[in-house]
């Protein structure tokens, strides 16, 4: 699915073959566990990466697979984050797993409503509508400070220990395993969606949206479905943030977060499911190392990297690796 597999002898098996779980995928997920034993002081960062990866995955579902550009996707992340906080603060609902799920559903509900607007526009108008909706939500959250804590945000959101036993400790051990587990499960579900008939129709939409009605596909309905699913994923990521850090602030739904997730996804590579994860790792690790010194440096280098990726490595890191492997395979 990510890197090219050798062509099966029966051409009809190619589609099934592309969806098979590969050995290096197992290796990848095992490697993601490594911070736990090896880098115990970095577990907070690792949790943030897992959460960002889930958020990037949500964006990949609509951008990489359906071709819909969104400049305001942090709206759903933020809705999930705030909803999770309000669940605990106002309604005393502290069970984490159900809180996660309900927050995701809340974000999905808003996503469903927004999707009716999104499908009506394209190109510049789509960019502006998604940007505008994101900004609108940020303004609303800022002004409804009774609910959202305004500029200060909401703090001291404490959820129950997971499964009644695992508390969120100061070192972030529980948080990391929790975030990683959620990421993995949601990833499996996304993988299933992508390799289903629905997933194929999404790729058709991305490749040629105009042709799909000529195949008998109701394009708008399809996009509404994936947009809602994507909002669900983003909401869960936001709720994870609240539950693992104990607080939420306006930047959870700000334009900067929308822009960052877009950059992470493009860095890693769109339309490949793993791109969001790889991009998040690279982006956040680099920022952690570089931005400490001087925020200016960070902007400059990430800007340059973005330009280079767009011009020379259009498939991002994962796409570039795939192309490299294909080229090496051809020479062999």
């Amino acid at each position: 699915m990510v890197l090219a597999a050798p062509a099966p002898s029966d051409p009809r098996r190619a589609i099934a073959a592309a969806a098979r779980w590969r050995w290096y995928e197992t290796l990848f997920w095992l490697a993601l566990l490594l911070p736990y034993p090896l880098l115990p002081t970095y577990l907070d960062l690792a949790s943030q990466i897992a959460i960002a990866a889930l958020f990037a995955l949500s964006l990949d579902l609509i951008l990489g697979y359906a071709g819909v550009i969104s400049l305001g996707h942090a709206a759903f992340f933020g809705i999930g984050a705030y909803f999770a906080a309000i669940l605990v603060q106002r309604w005393g609902w502290t069970e984490p797993f159900s809180g996660l799920l309900v927050s995701g559903v809340a974000a999905a509900a808003v996503g469903y409503l927004a999707s009716f607007l999104i499908v009506r526009v394209s190109r510049l108008a789509l960019l502006m509508v998604t940007l505008g909706l994101g900004v609108l939500l940020e303004e609303a959250a800022n002004h409804l400070s009774g609910l959202t804590g305004g500029n200060d945000g909401l703090h001291e959101i404490a959820v129950m220990p997971l499964l009644g036993r695992f508390t969120f400790d100061l070192y972030g051990r529980t948080a990391f395993l929790y975030a990683l587990a959620v990421l993995f499960l949601m990833f499996l579900a996304a993988r299933r969606i992508v390799h289903s008939p629905f997933g194929l129709s999404l790729r058709g939409l991305r490749e040629n949206a105009a042709r799909m009605p000529a195949l008998g596909a109701p394009s708008r309905a399809r996009i509404r479905v994936i947009y809602t699913i994507s909002a669900f994923y983003a909401g869960i990521a936001g709720a994870l943030l609240t539950q693992t850090t104990g607080s939420v602030a306006l930047e959870a739904l700000g334009f900067q977060r929308s822009a960052e997730v877009l950059i992470m996804l493009v860095l890693g590579g769109t339309g490949r499911l793993y791109g969001g994860i790889v991009g998040s790792i690279v982006f956040l690790v680099a920022r952690d190392q570089l931005a400490d010194m001087n925020p200016q440096y960070w902007f400059f280098w990430i800007g340059l990297l973005l330009i280079l990726v767009v011009l020379f490595i259009p498939g991002g890191i994962v796409g570039g690796a795939s192309a490299l492997q294909a080229r090496l395979g051809r020479r062999a």
């Binding site: 062509a7 051409p11 009809r12 098996r13 190619a14 589609i15 099934a16 073959a17 592309a18 969806a19 299933r192 969606i193 390799h195 289903s196 008939p197 629905f198 997933g199 194929l200 129709s201 790729r203 058709g204 490749e207 040629n208 105009a210 042709r211 799909m212 009605p213 000529a214 195949l215 008998g216 596909a217 109701p218 394009s219 399809r222 479905v225």
Partner: protein
């Protein structure tokens, strides 16, 4: 007389002061092999867009197997058996032909919205897609990306996508456009060998192909239907000759 597979009645469409469809009416009987010809700008592709629902007519009606479809969305018309190809390839560059045709079949069967099934497990659809590609001599390229295929093969894929819908009416918009002369006859052989219950209307400029494969010809010019009839009649129709060739006879 049996119901025509496709019929248009008084279609009118204007863009500002430009009238692109002027009282267009015609019938396409079942099993037809009709050609639609006319100079550039005559409104042929516009007519196809009106018939398929991409454009909404200002006035007039469209009937598919007797049922009115004038206000039906394009994808619903496809579900009812009306398929078309595009003058400029409208394919899926990163998908393989096998994936593209499988997608078309899954859409036809209403399986496409299913996100729980494994795509690899849809073996019936994949089998059918492969068989269709074999009939169009595309099987050996079926797992290469569409953008890597030669233009002529892409054109065949364009037709394969339309055929996958198992249409009762097929509208082909210049199927041989851009295809080298040697291959276009091959392409039309494919069209000629289509099941006899499908009604086919094809837009074409190459008169040799038109006279070889069409049983009836419709001539359009300036948004209107100028003439309609058997090939021999059209070849000798003075108005058609004037519009097309400035008075000389059309040689079949």
């Amino acid at each position: 007389m049996s119901t025509p597979a496709l019929a248009a009645d008084g279609l009118m469409k204007s863009f500002g002061s430009l009238r692109v469809a002027d009282n267009v009416s015609f019938e396409l009987p079942q099993g037809a092999r009709h050609a639609l010809i006319g100079p550039n700008g005559a409104g042929k592709t516009t007519l196809v867009n009106l018939l398929t629902g991409v454009l909404a007519p200002d006035h007039g009606h469209v009937y598919l197997a007797g049922a009115e479809i004038t206000h039906l969305a394009p994808d619903r018309r496809v579900k009812r058996g009306l398929a078309r190809t595009f003058q400029i390839n409208a394919l899926f560059p990163e998908l393989t032909p096998l994936e593209s045709v499988t997608l078309a079949i899954l859409e036809r069967d209403g399986v496409a919205p299913n996100w729980r099934r494994k795509l690899g497990g849809c073996s019936a659809a994949i089998e059918e897609a492969h068989a269709l590609l074999q009939r169009l001599a595309l099987a050996e390229d079926c797992n290469r990306r569409t953008r890597e295929l030669a233009y002529g093969r892409q054109r065949l894929l364009e037709i394969a996508l339309a055929l996958a819908a198992q249409p009762k009416v097929l509208l082909l918009d210049e199927p041989a456009a851009g295809v080298p002369a040697g291959e276009s006859a091959e392409l039309f052989q494919v069209i000629a060998s289509l099941p006899s219950d499908i009604a086919v209307l094809f837009i074409e400029h190459d008169m040799h192909l038109v006279f070889r494969f069409a049983s009836r010809i419709i001539v359009m010019a300036g948004g209107r239907i100028l003439a309609e009839g058997l090939p021999a009649e059209i070849a000798h129709n003075p108005e058609v000759r004037a519009v097309y060739l400035g008075g000389t006879e059309i040689h079949a």
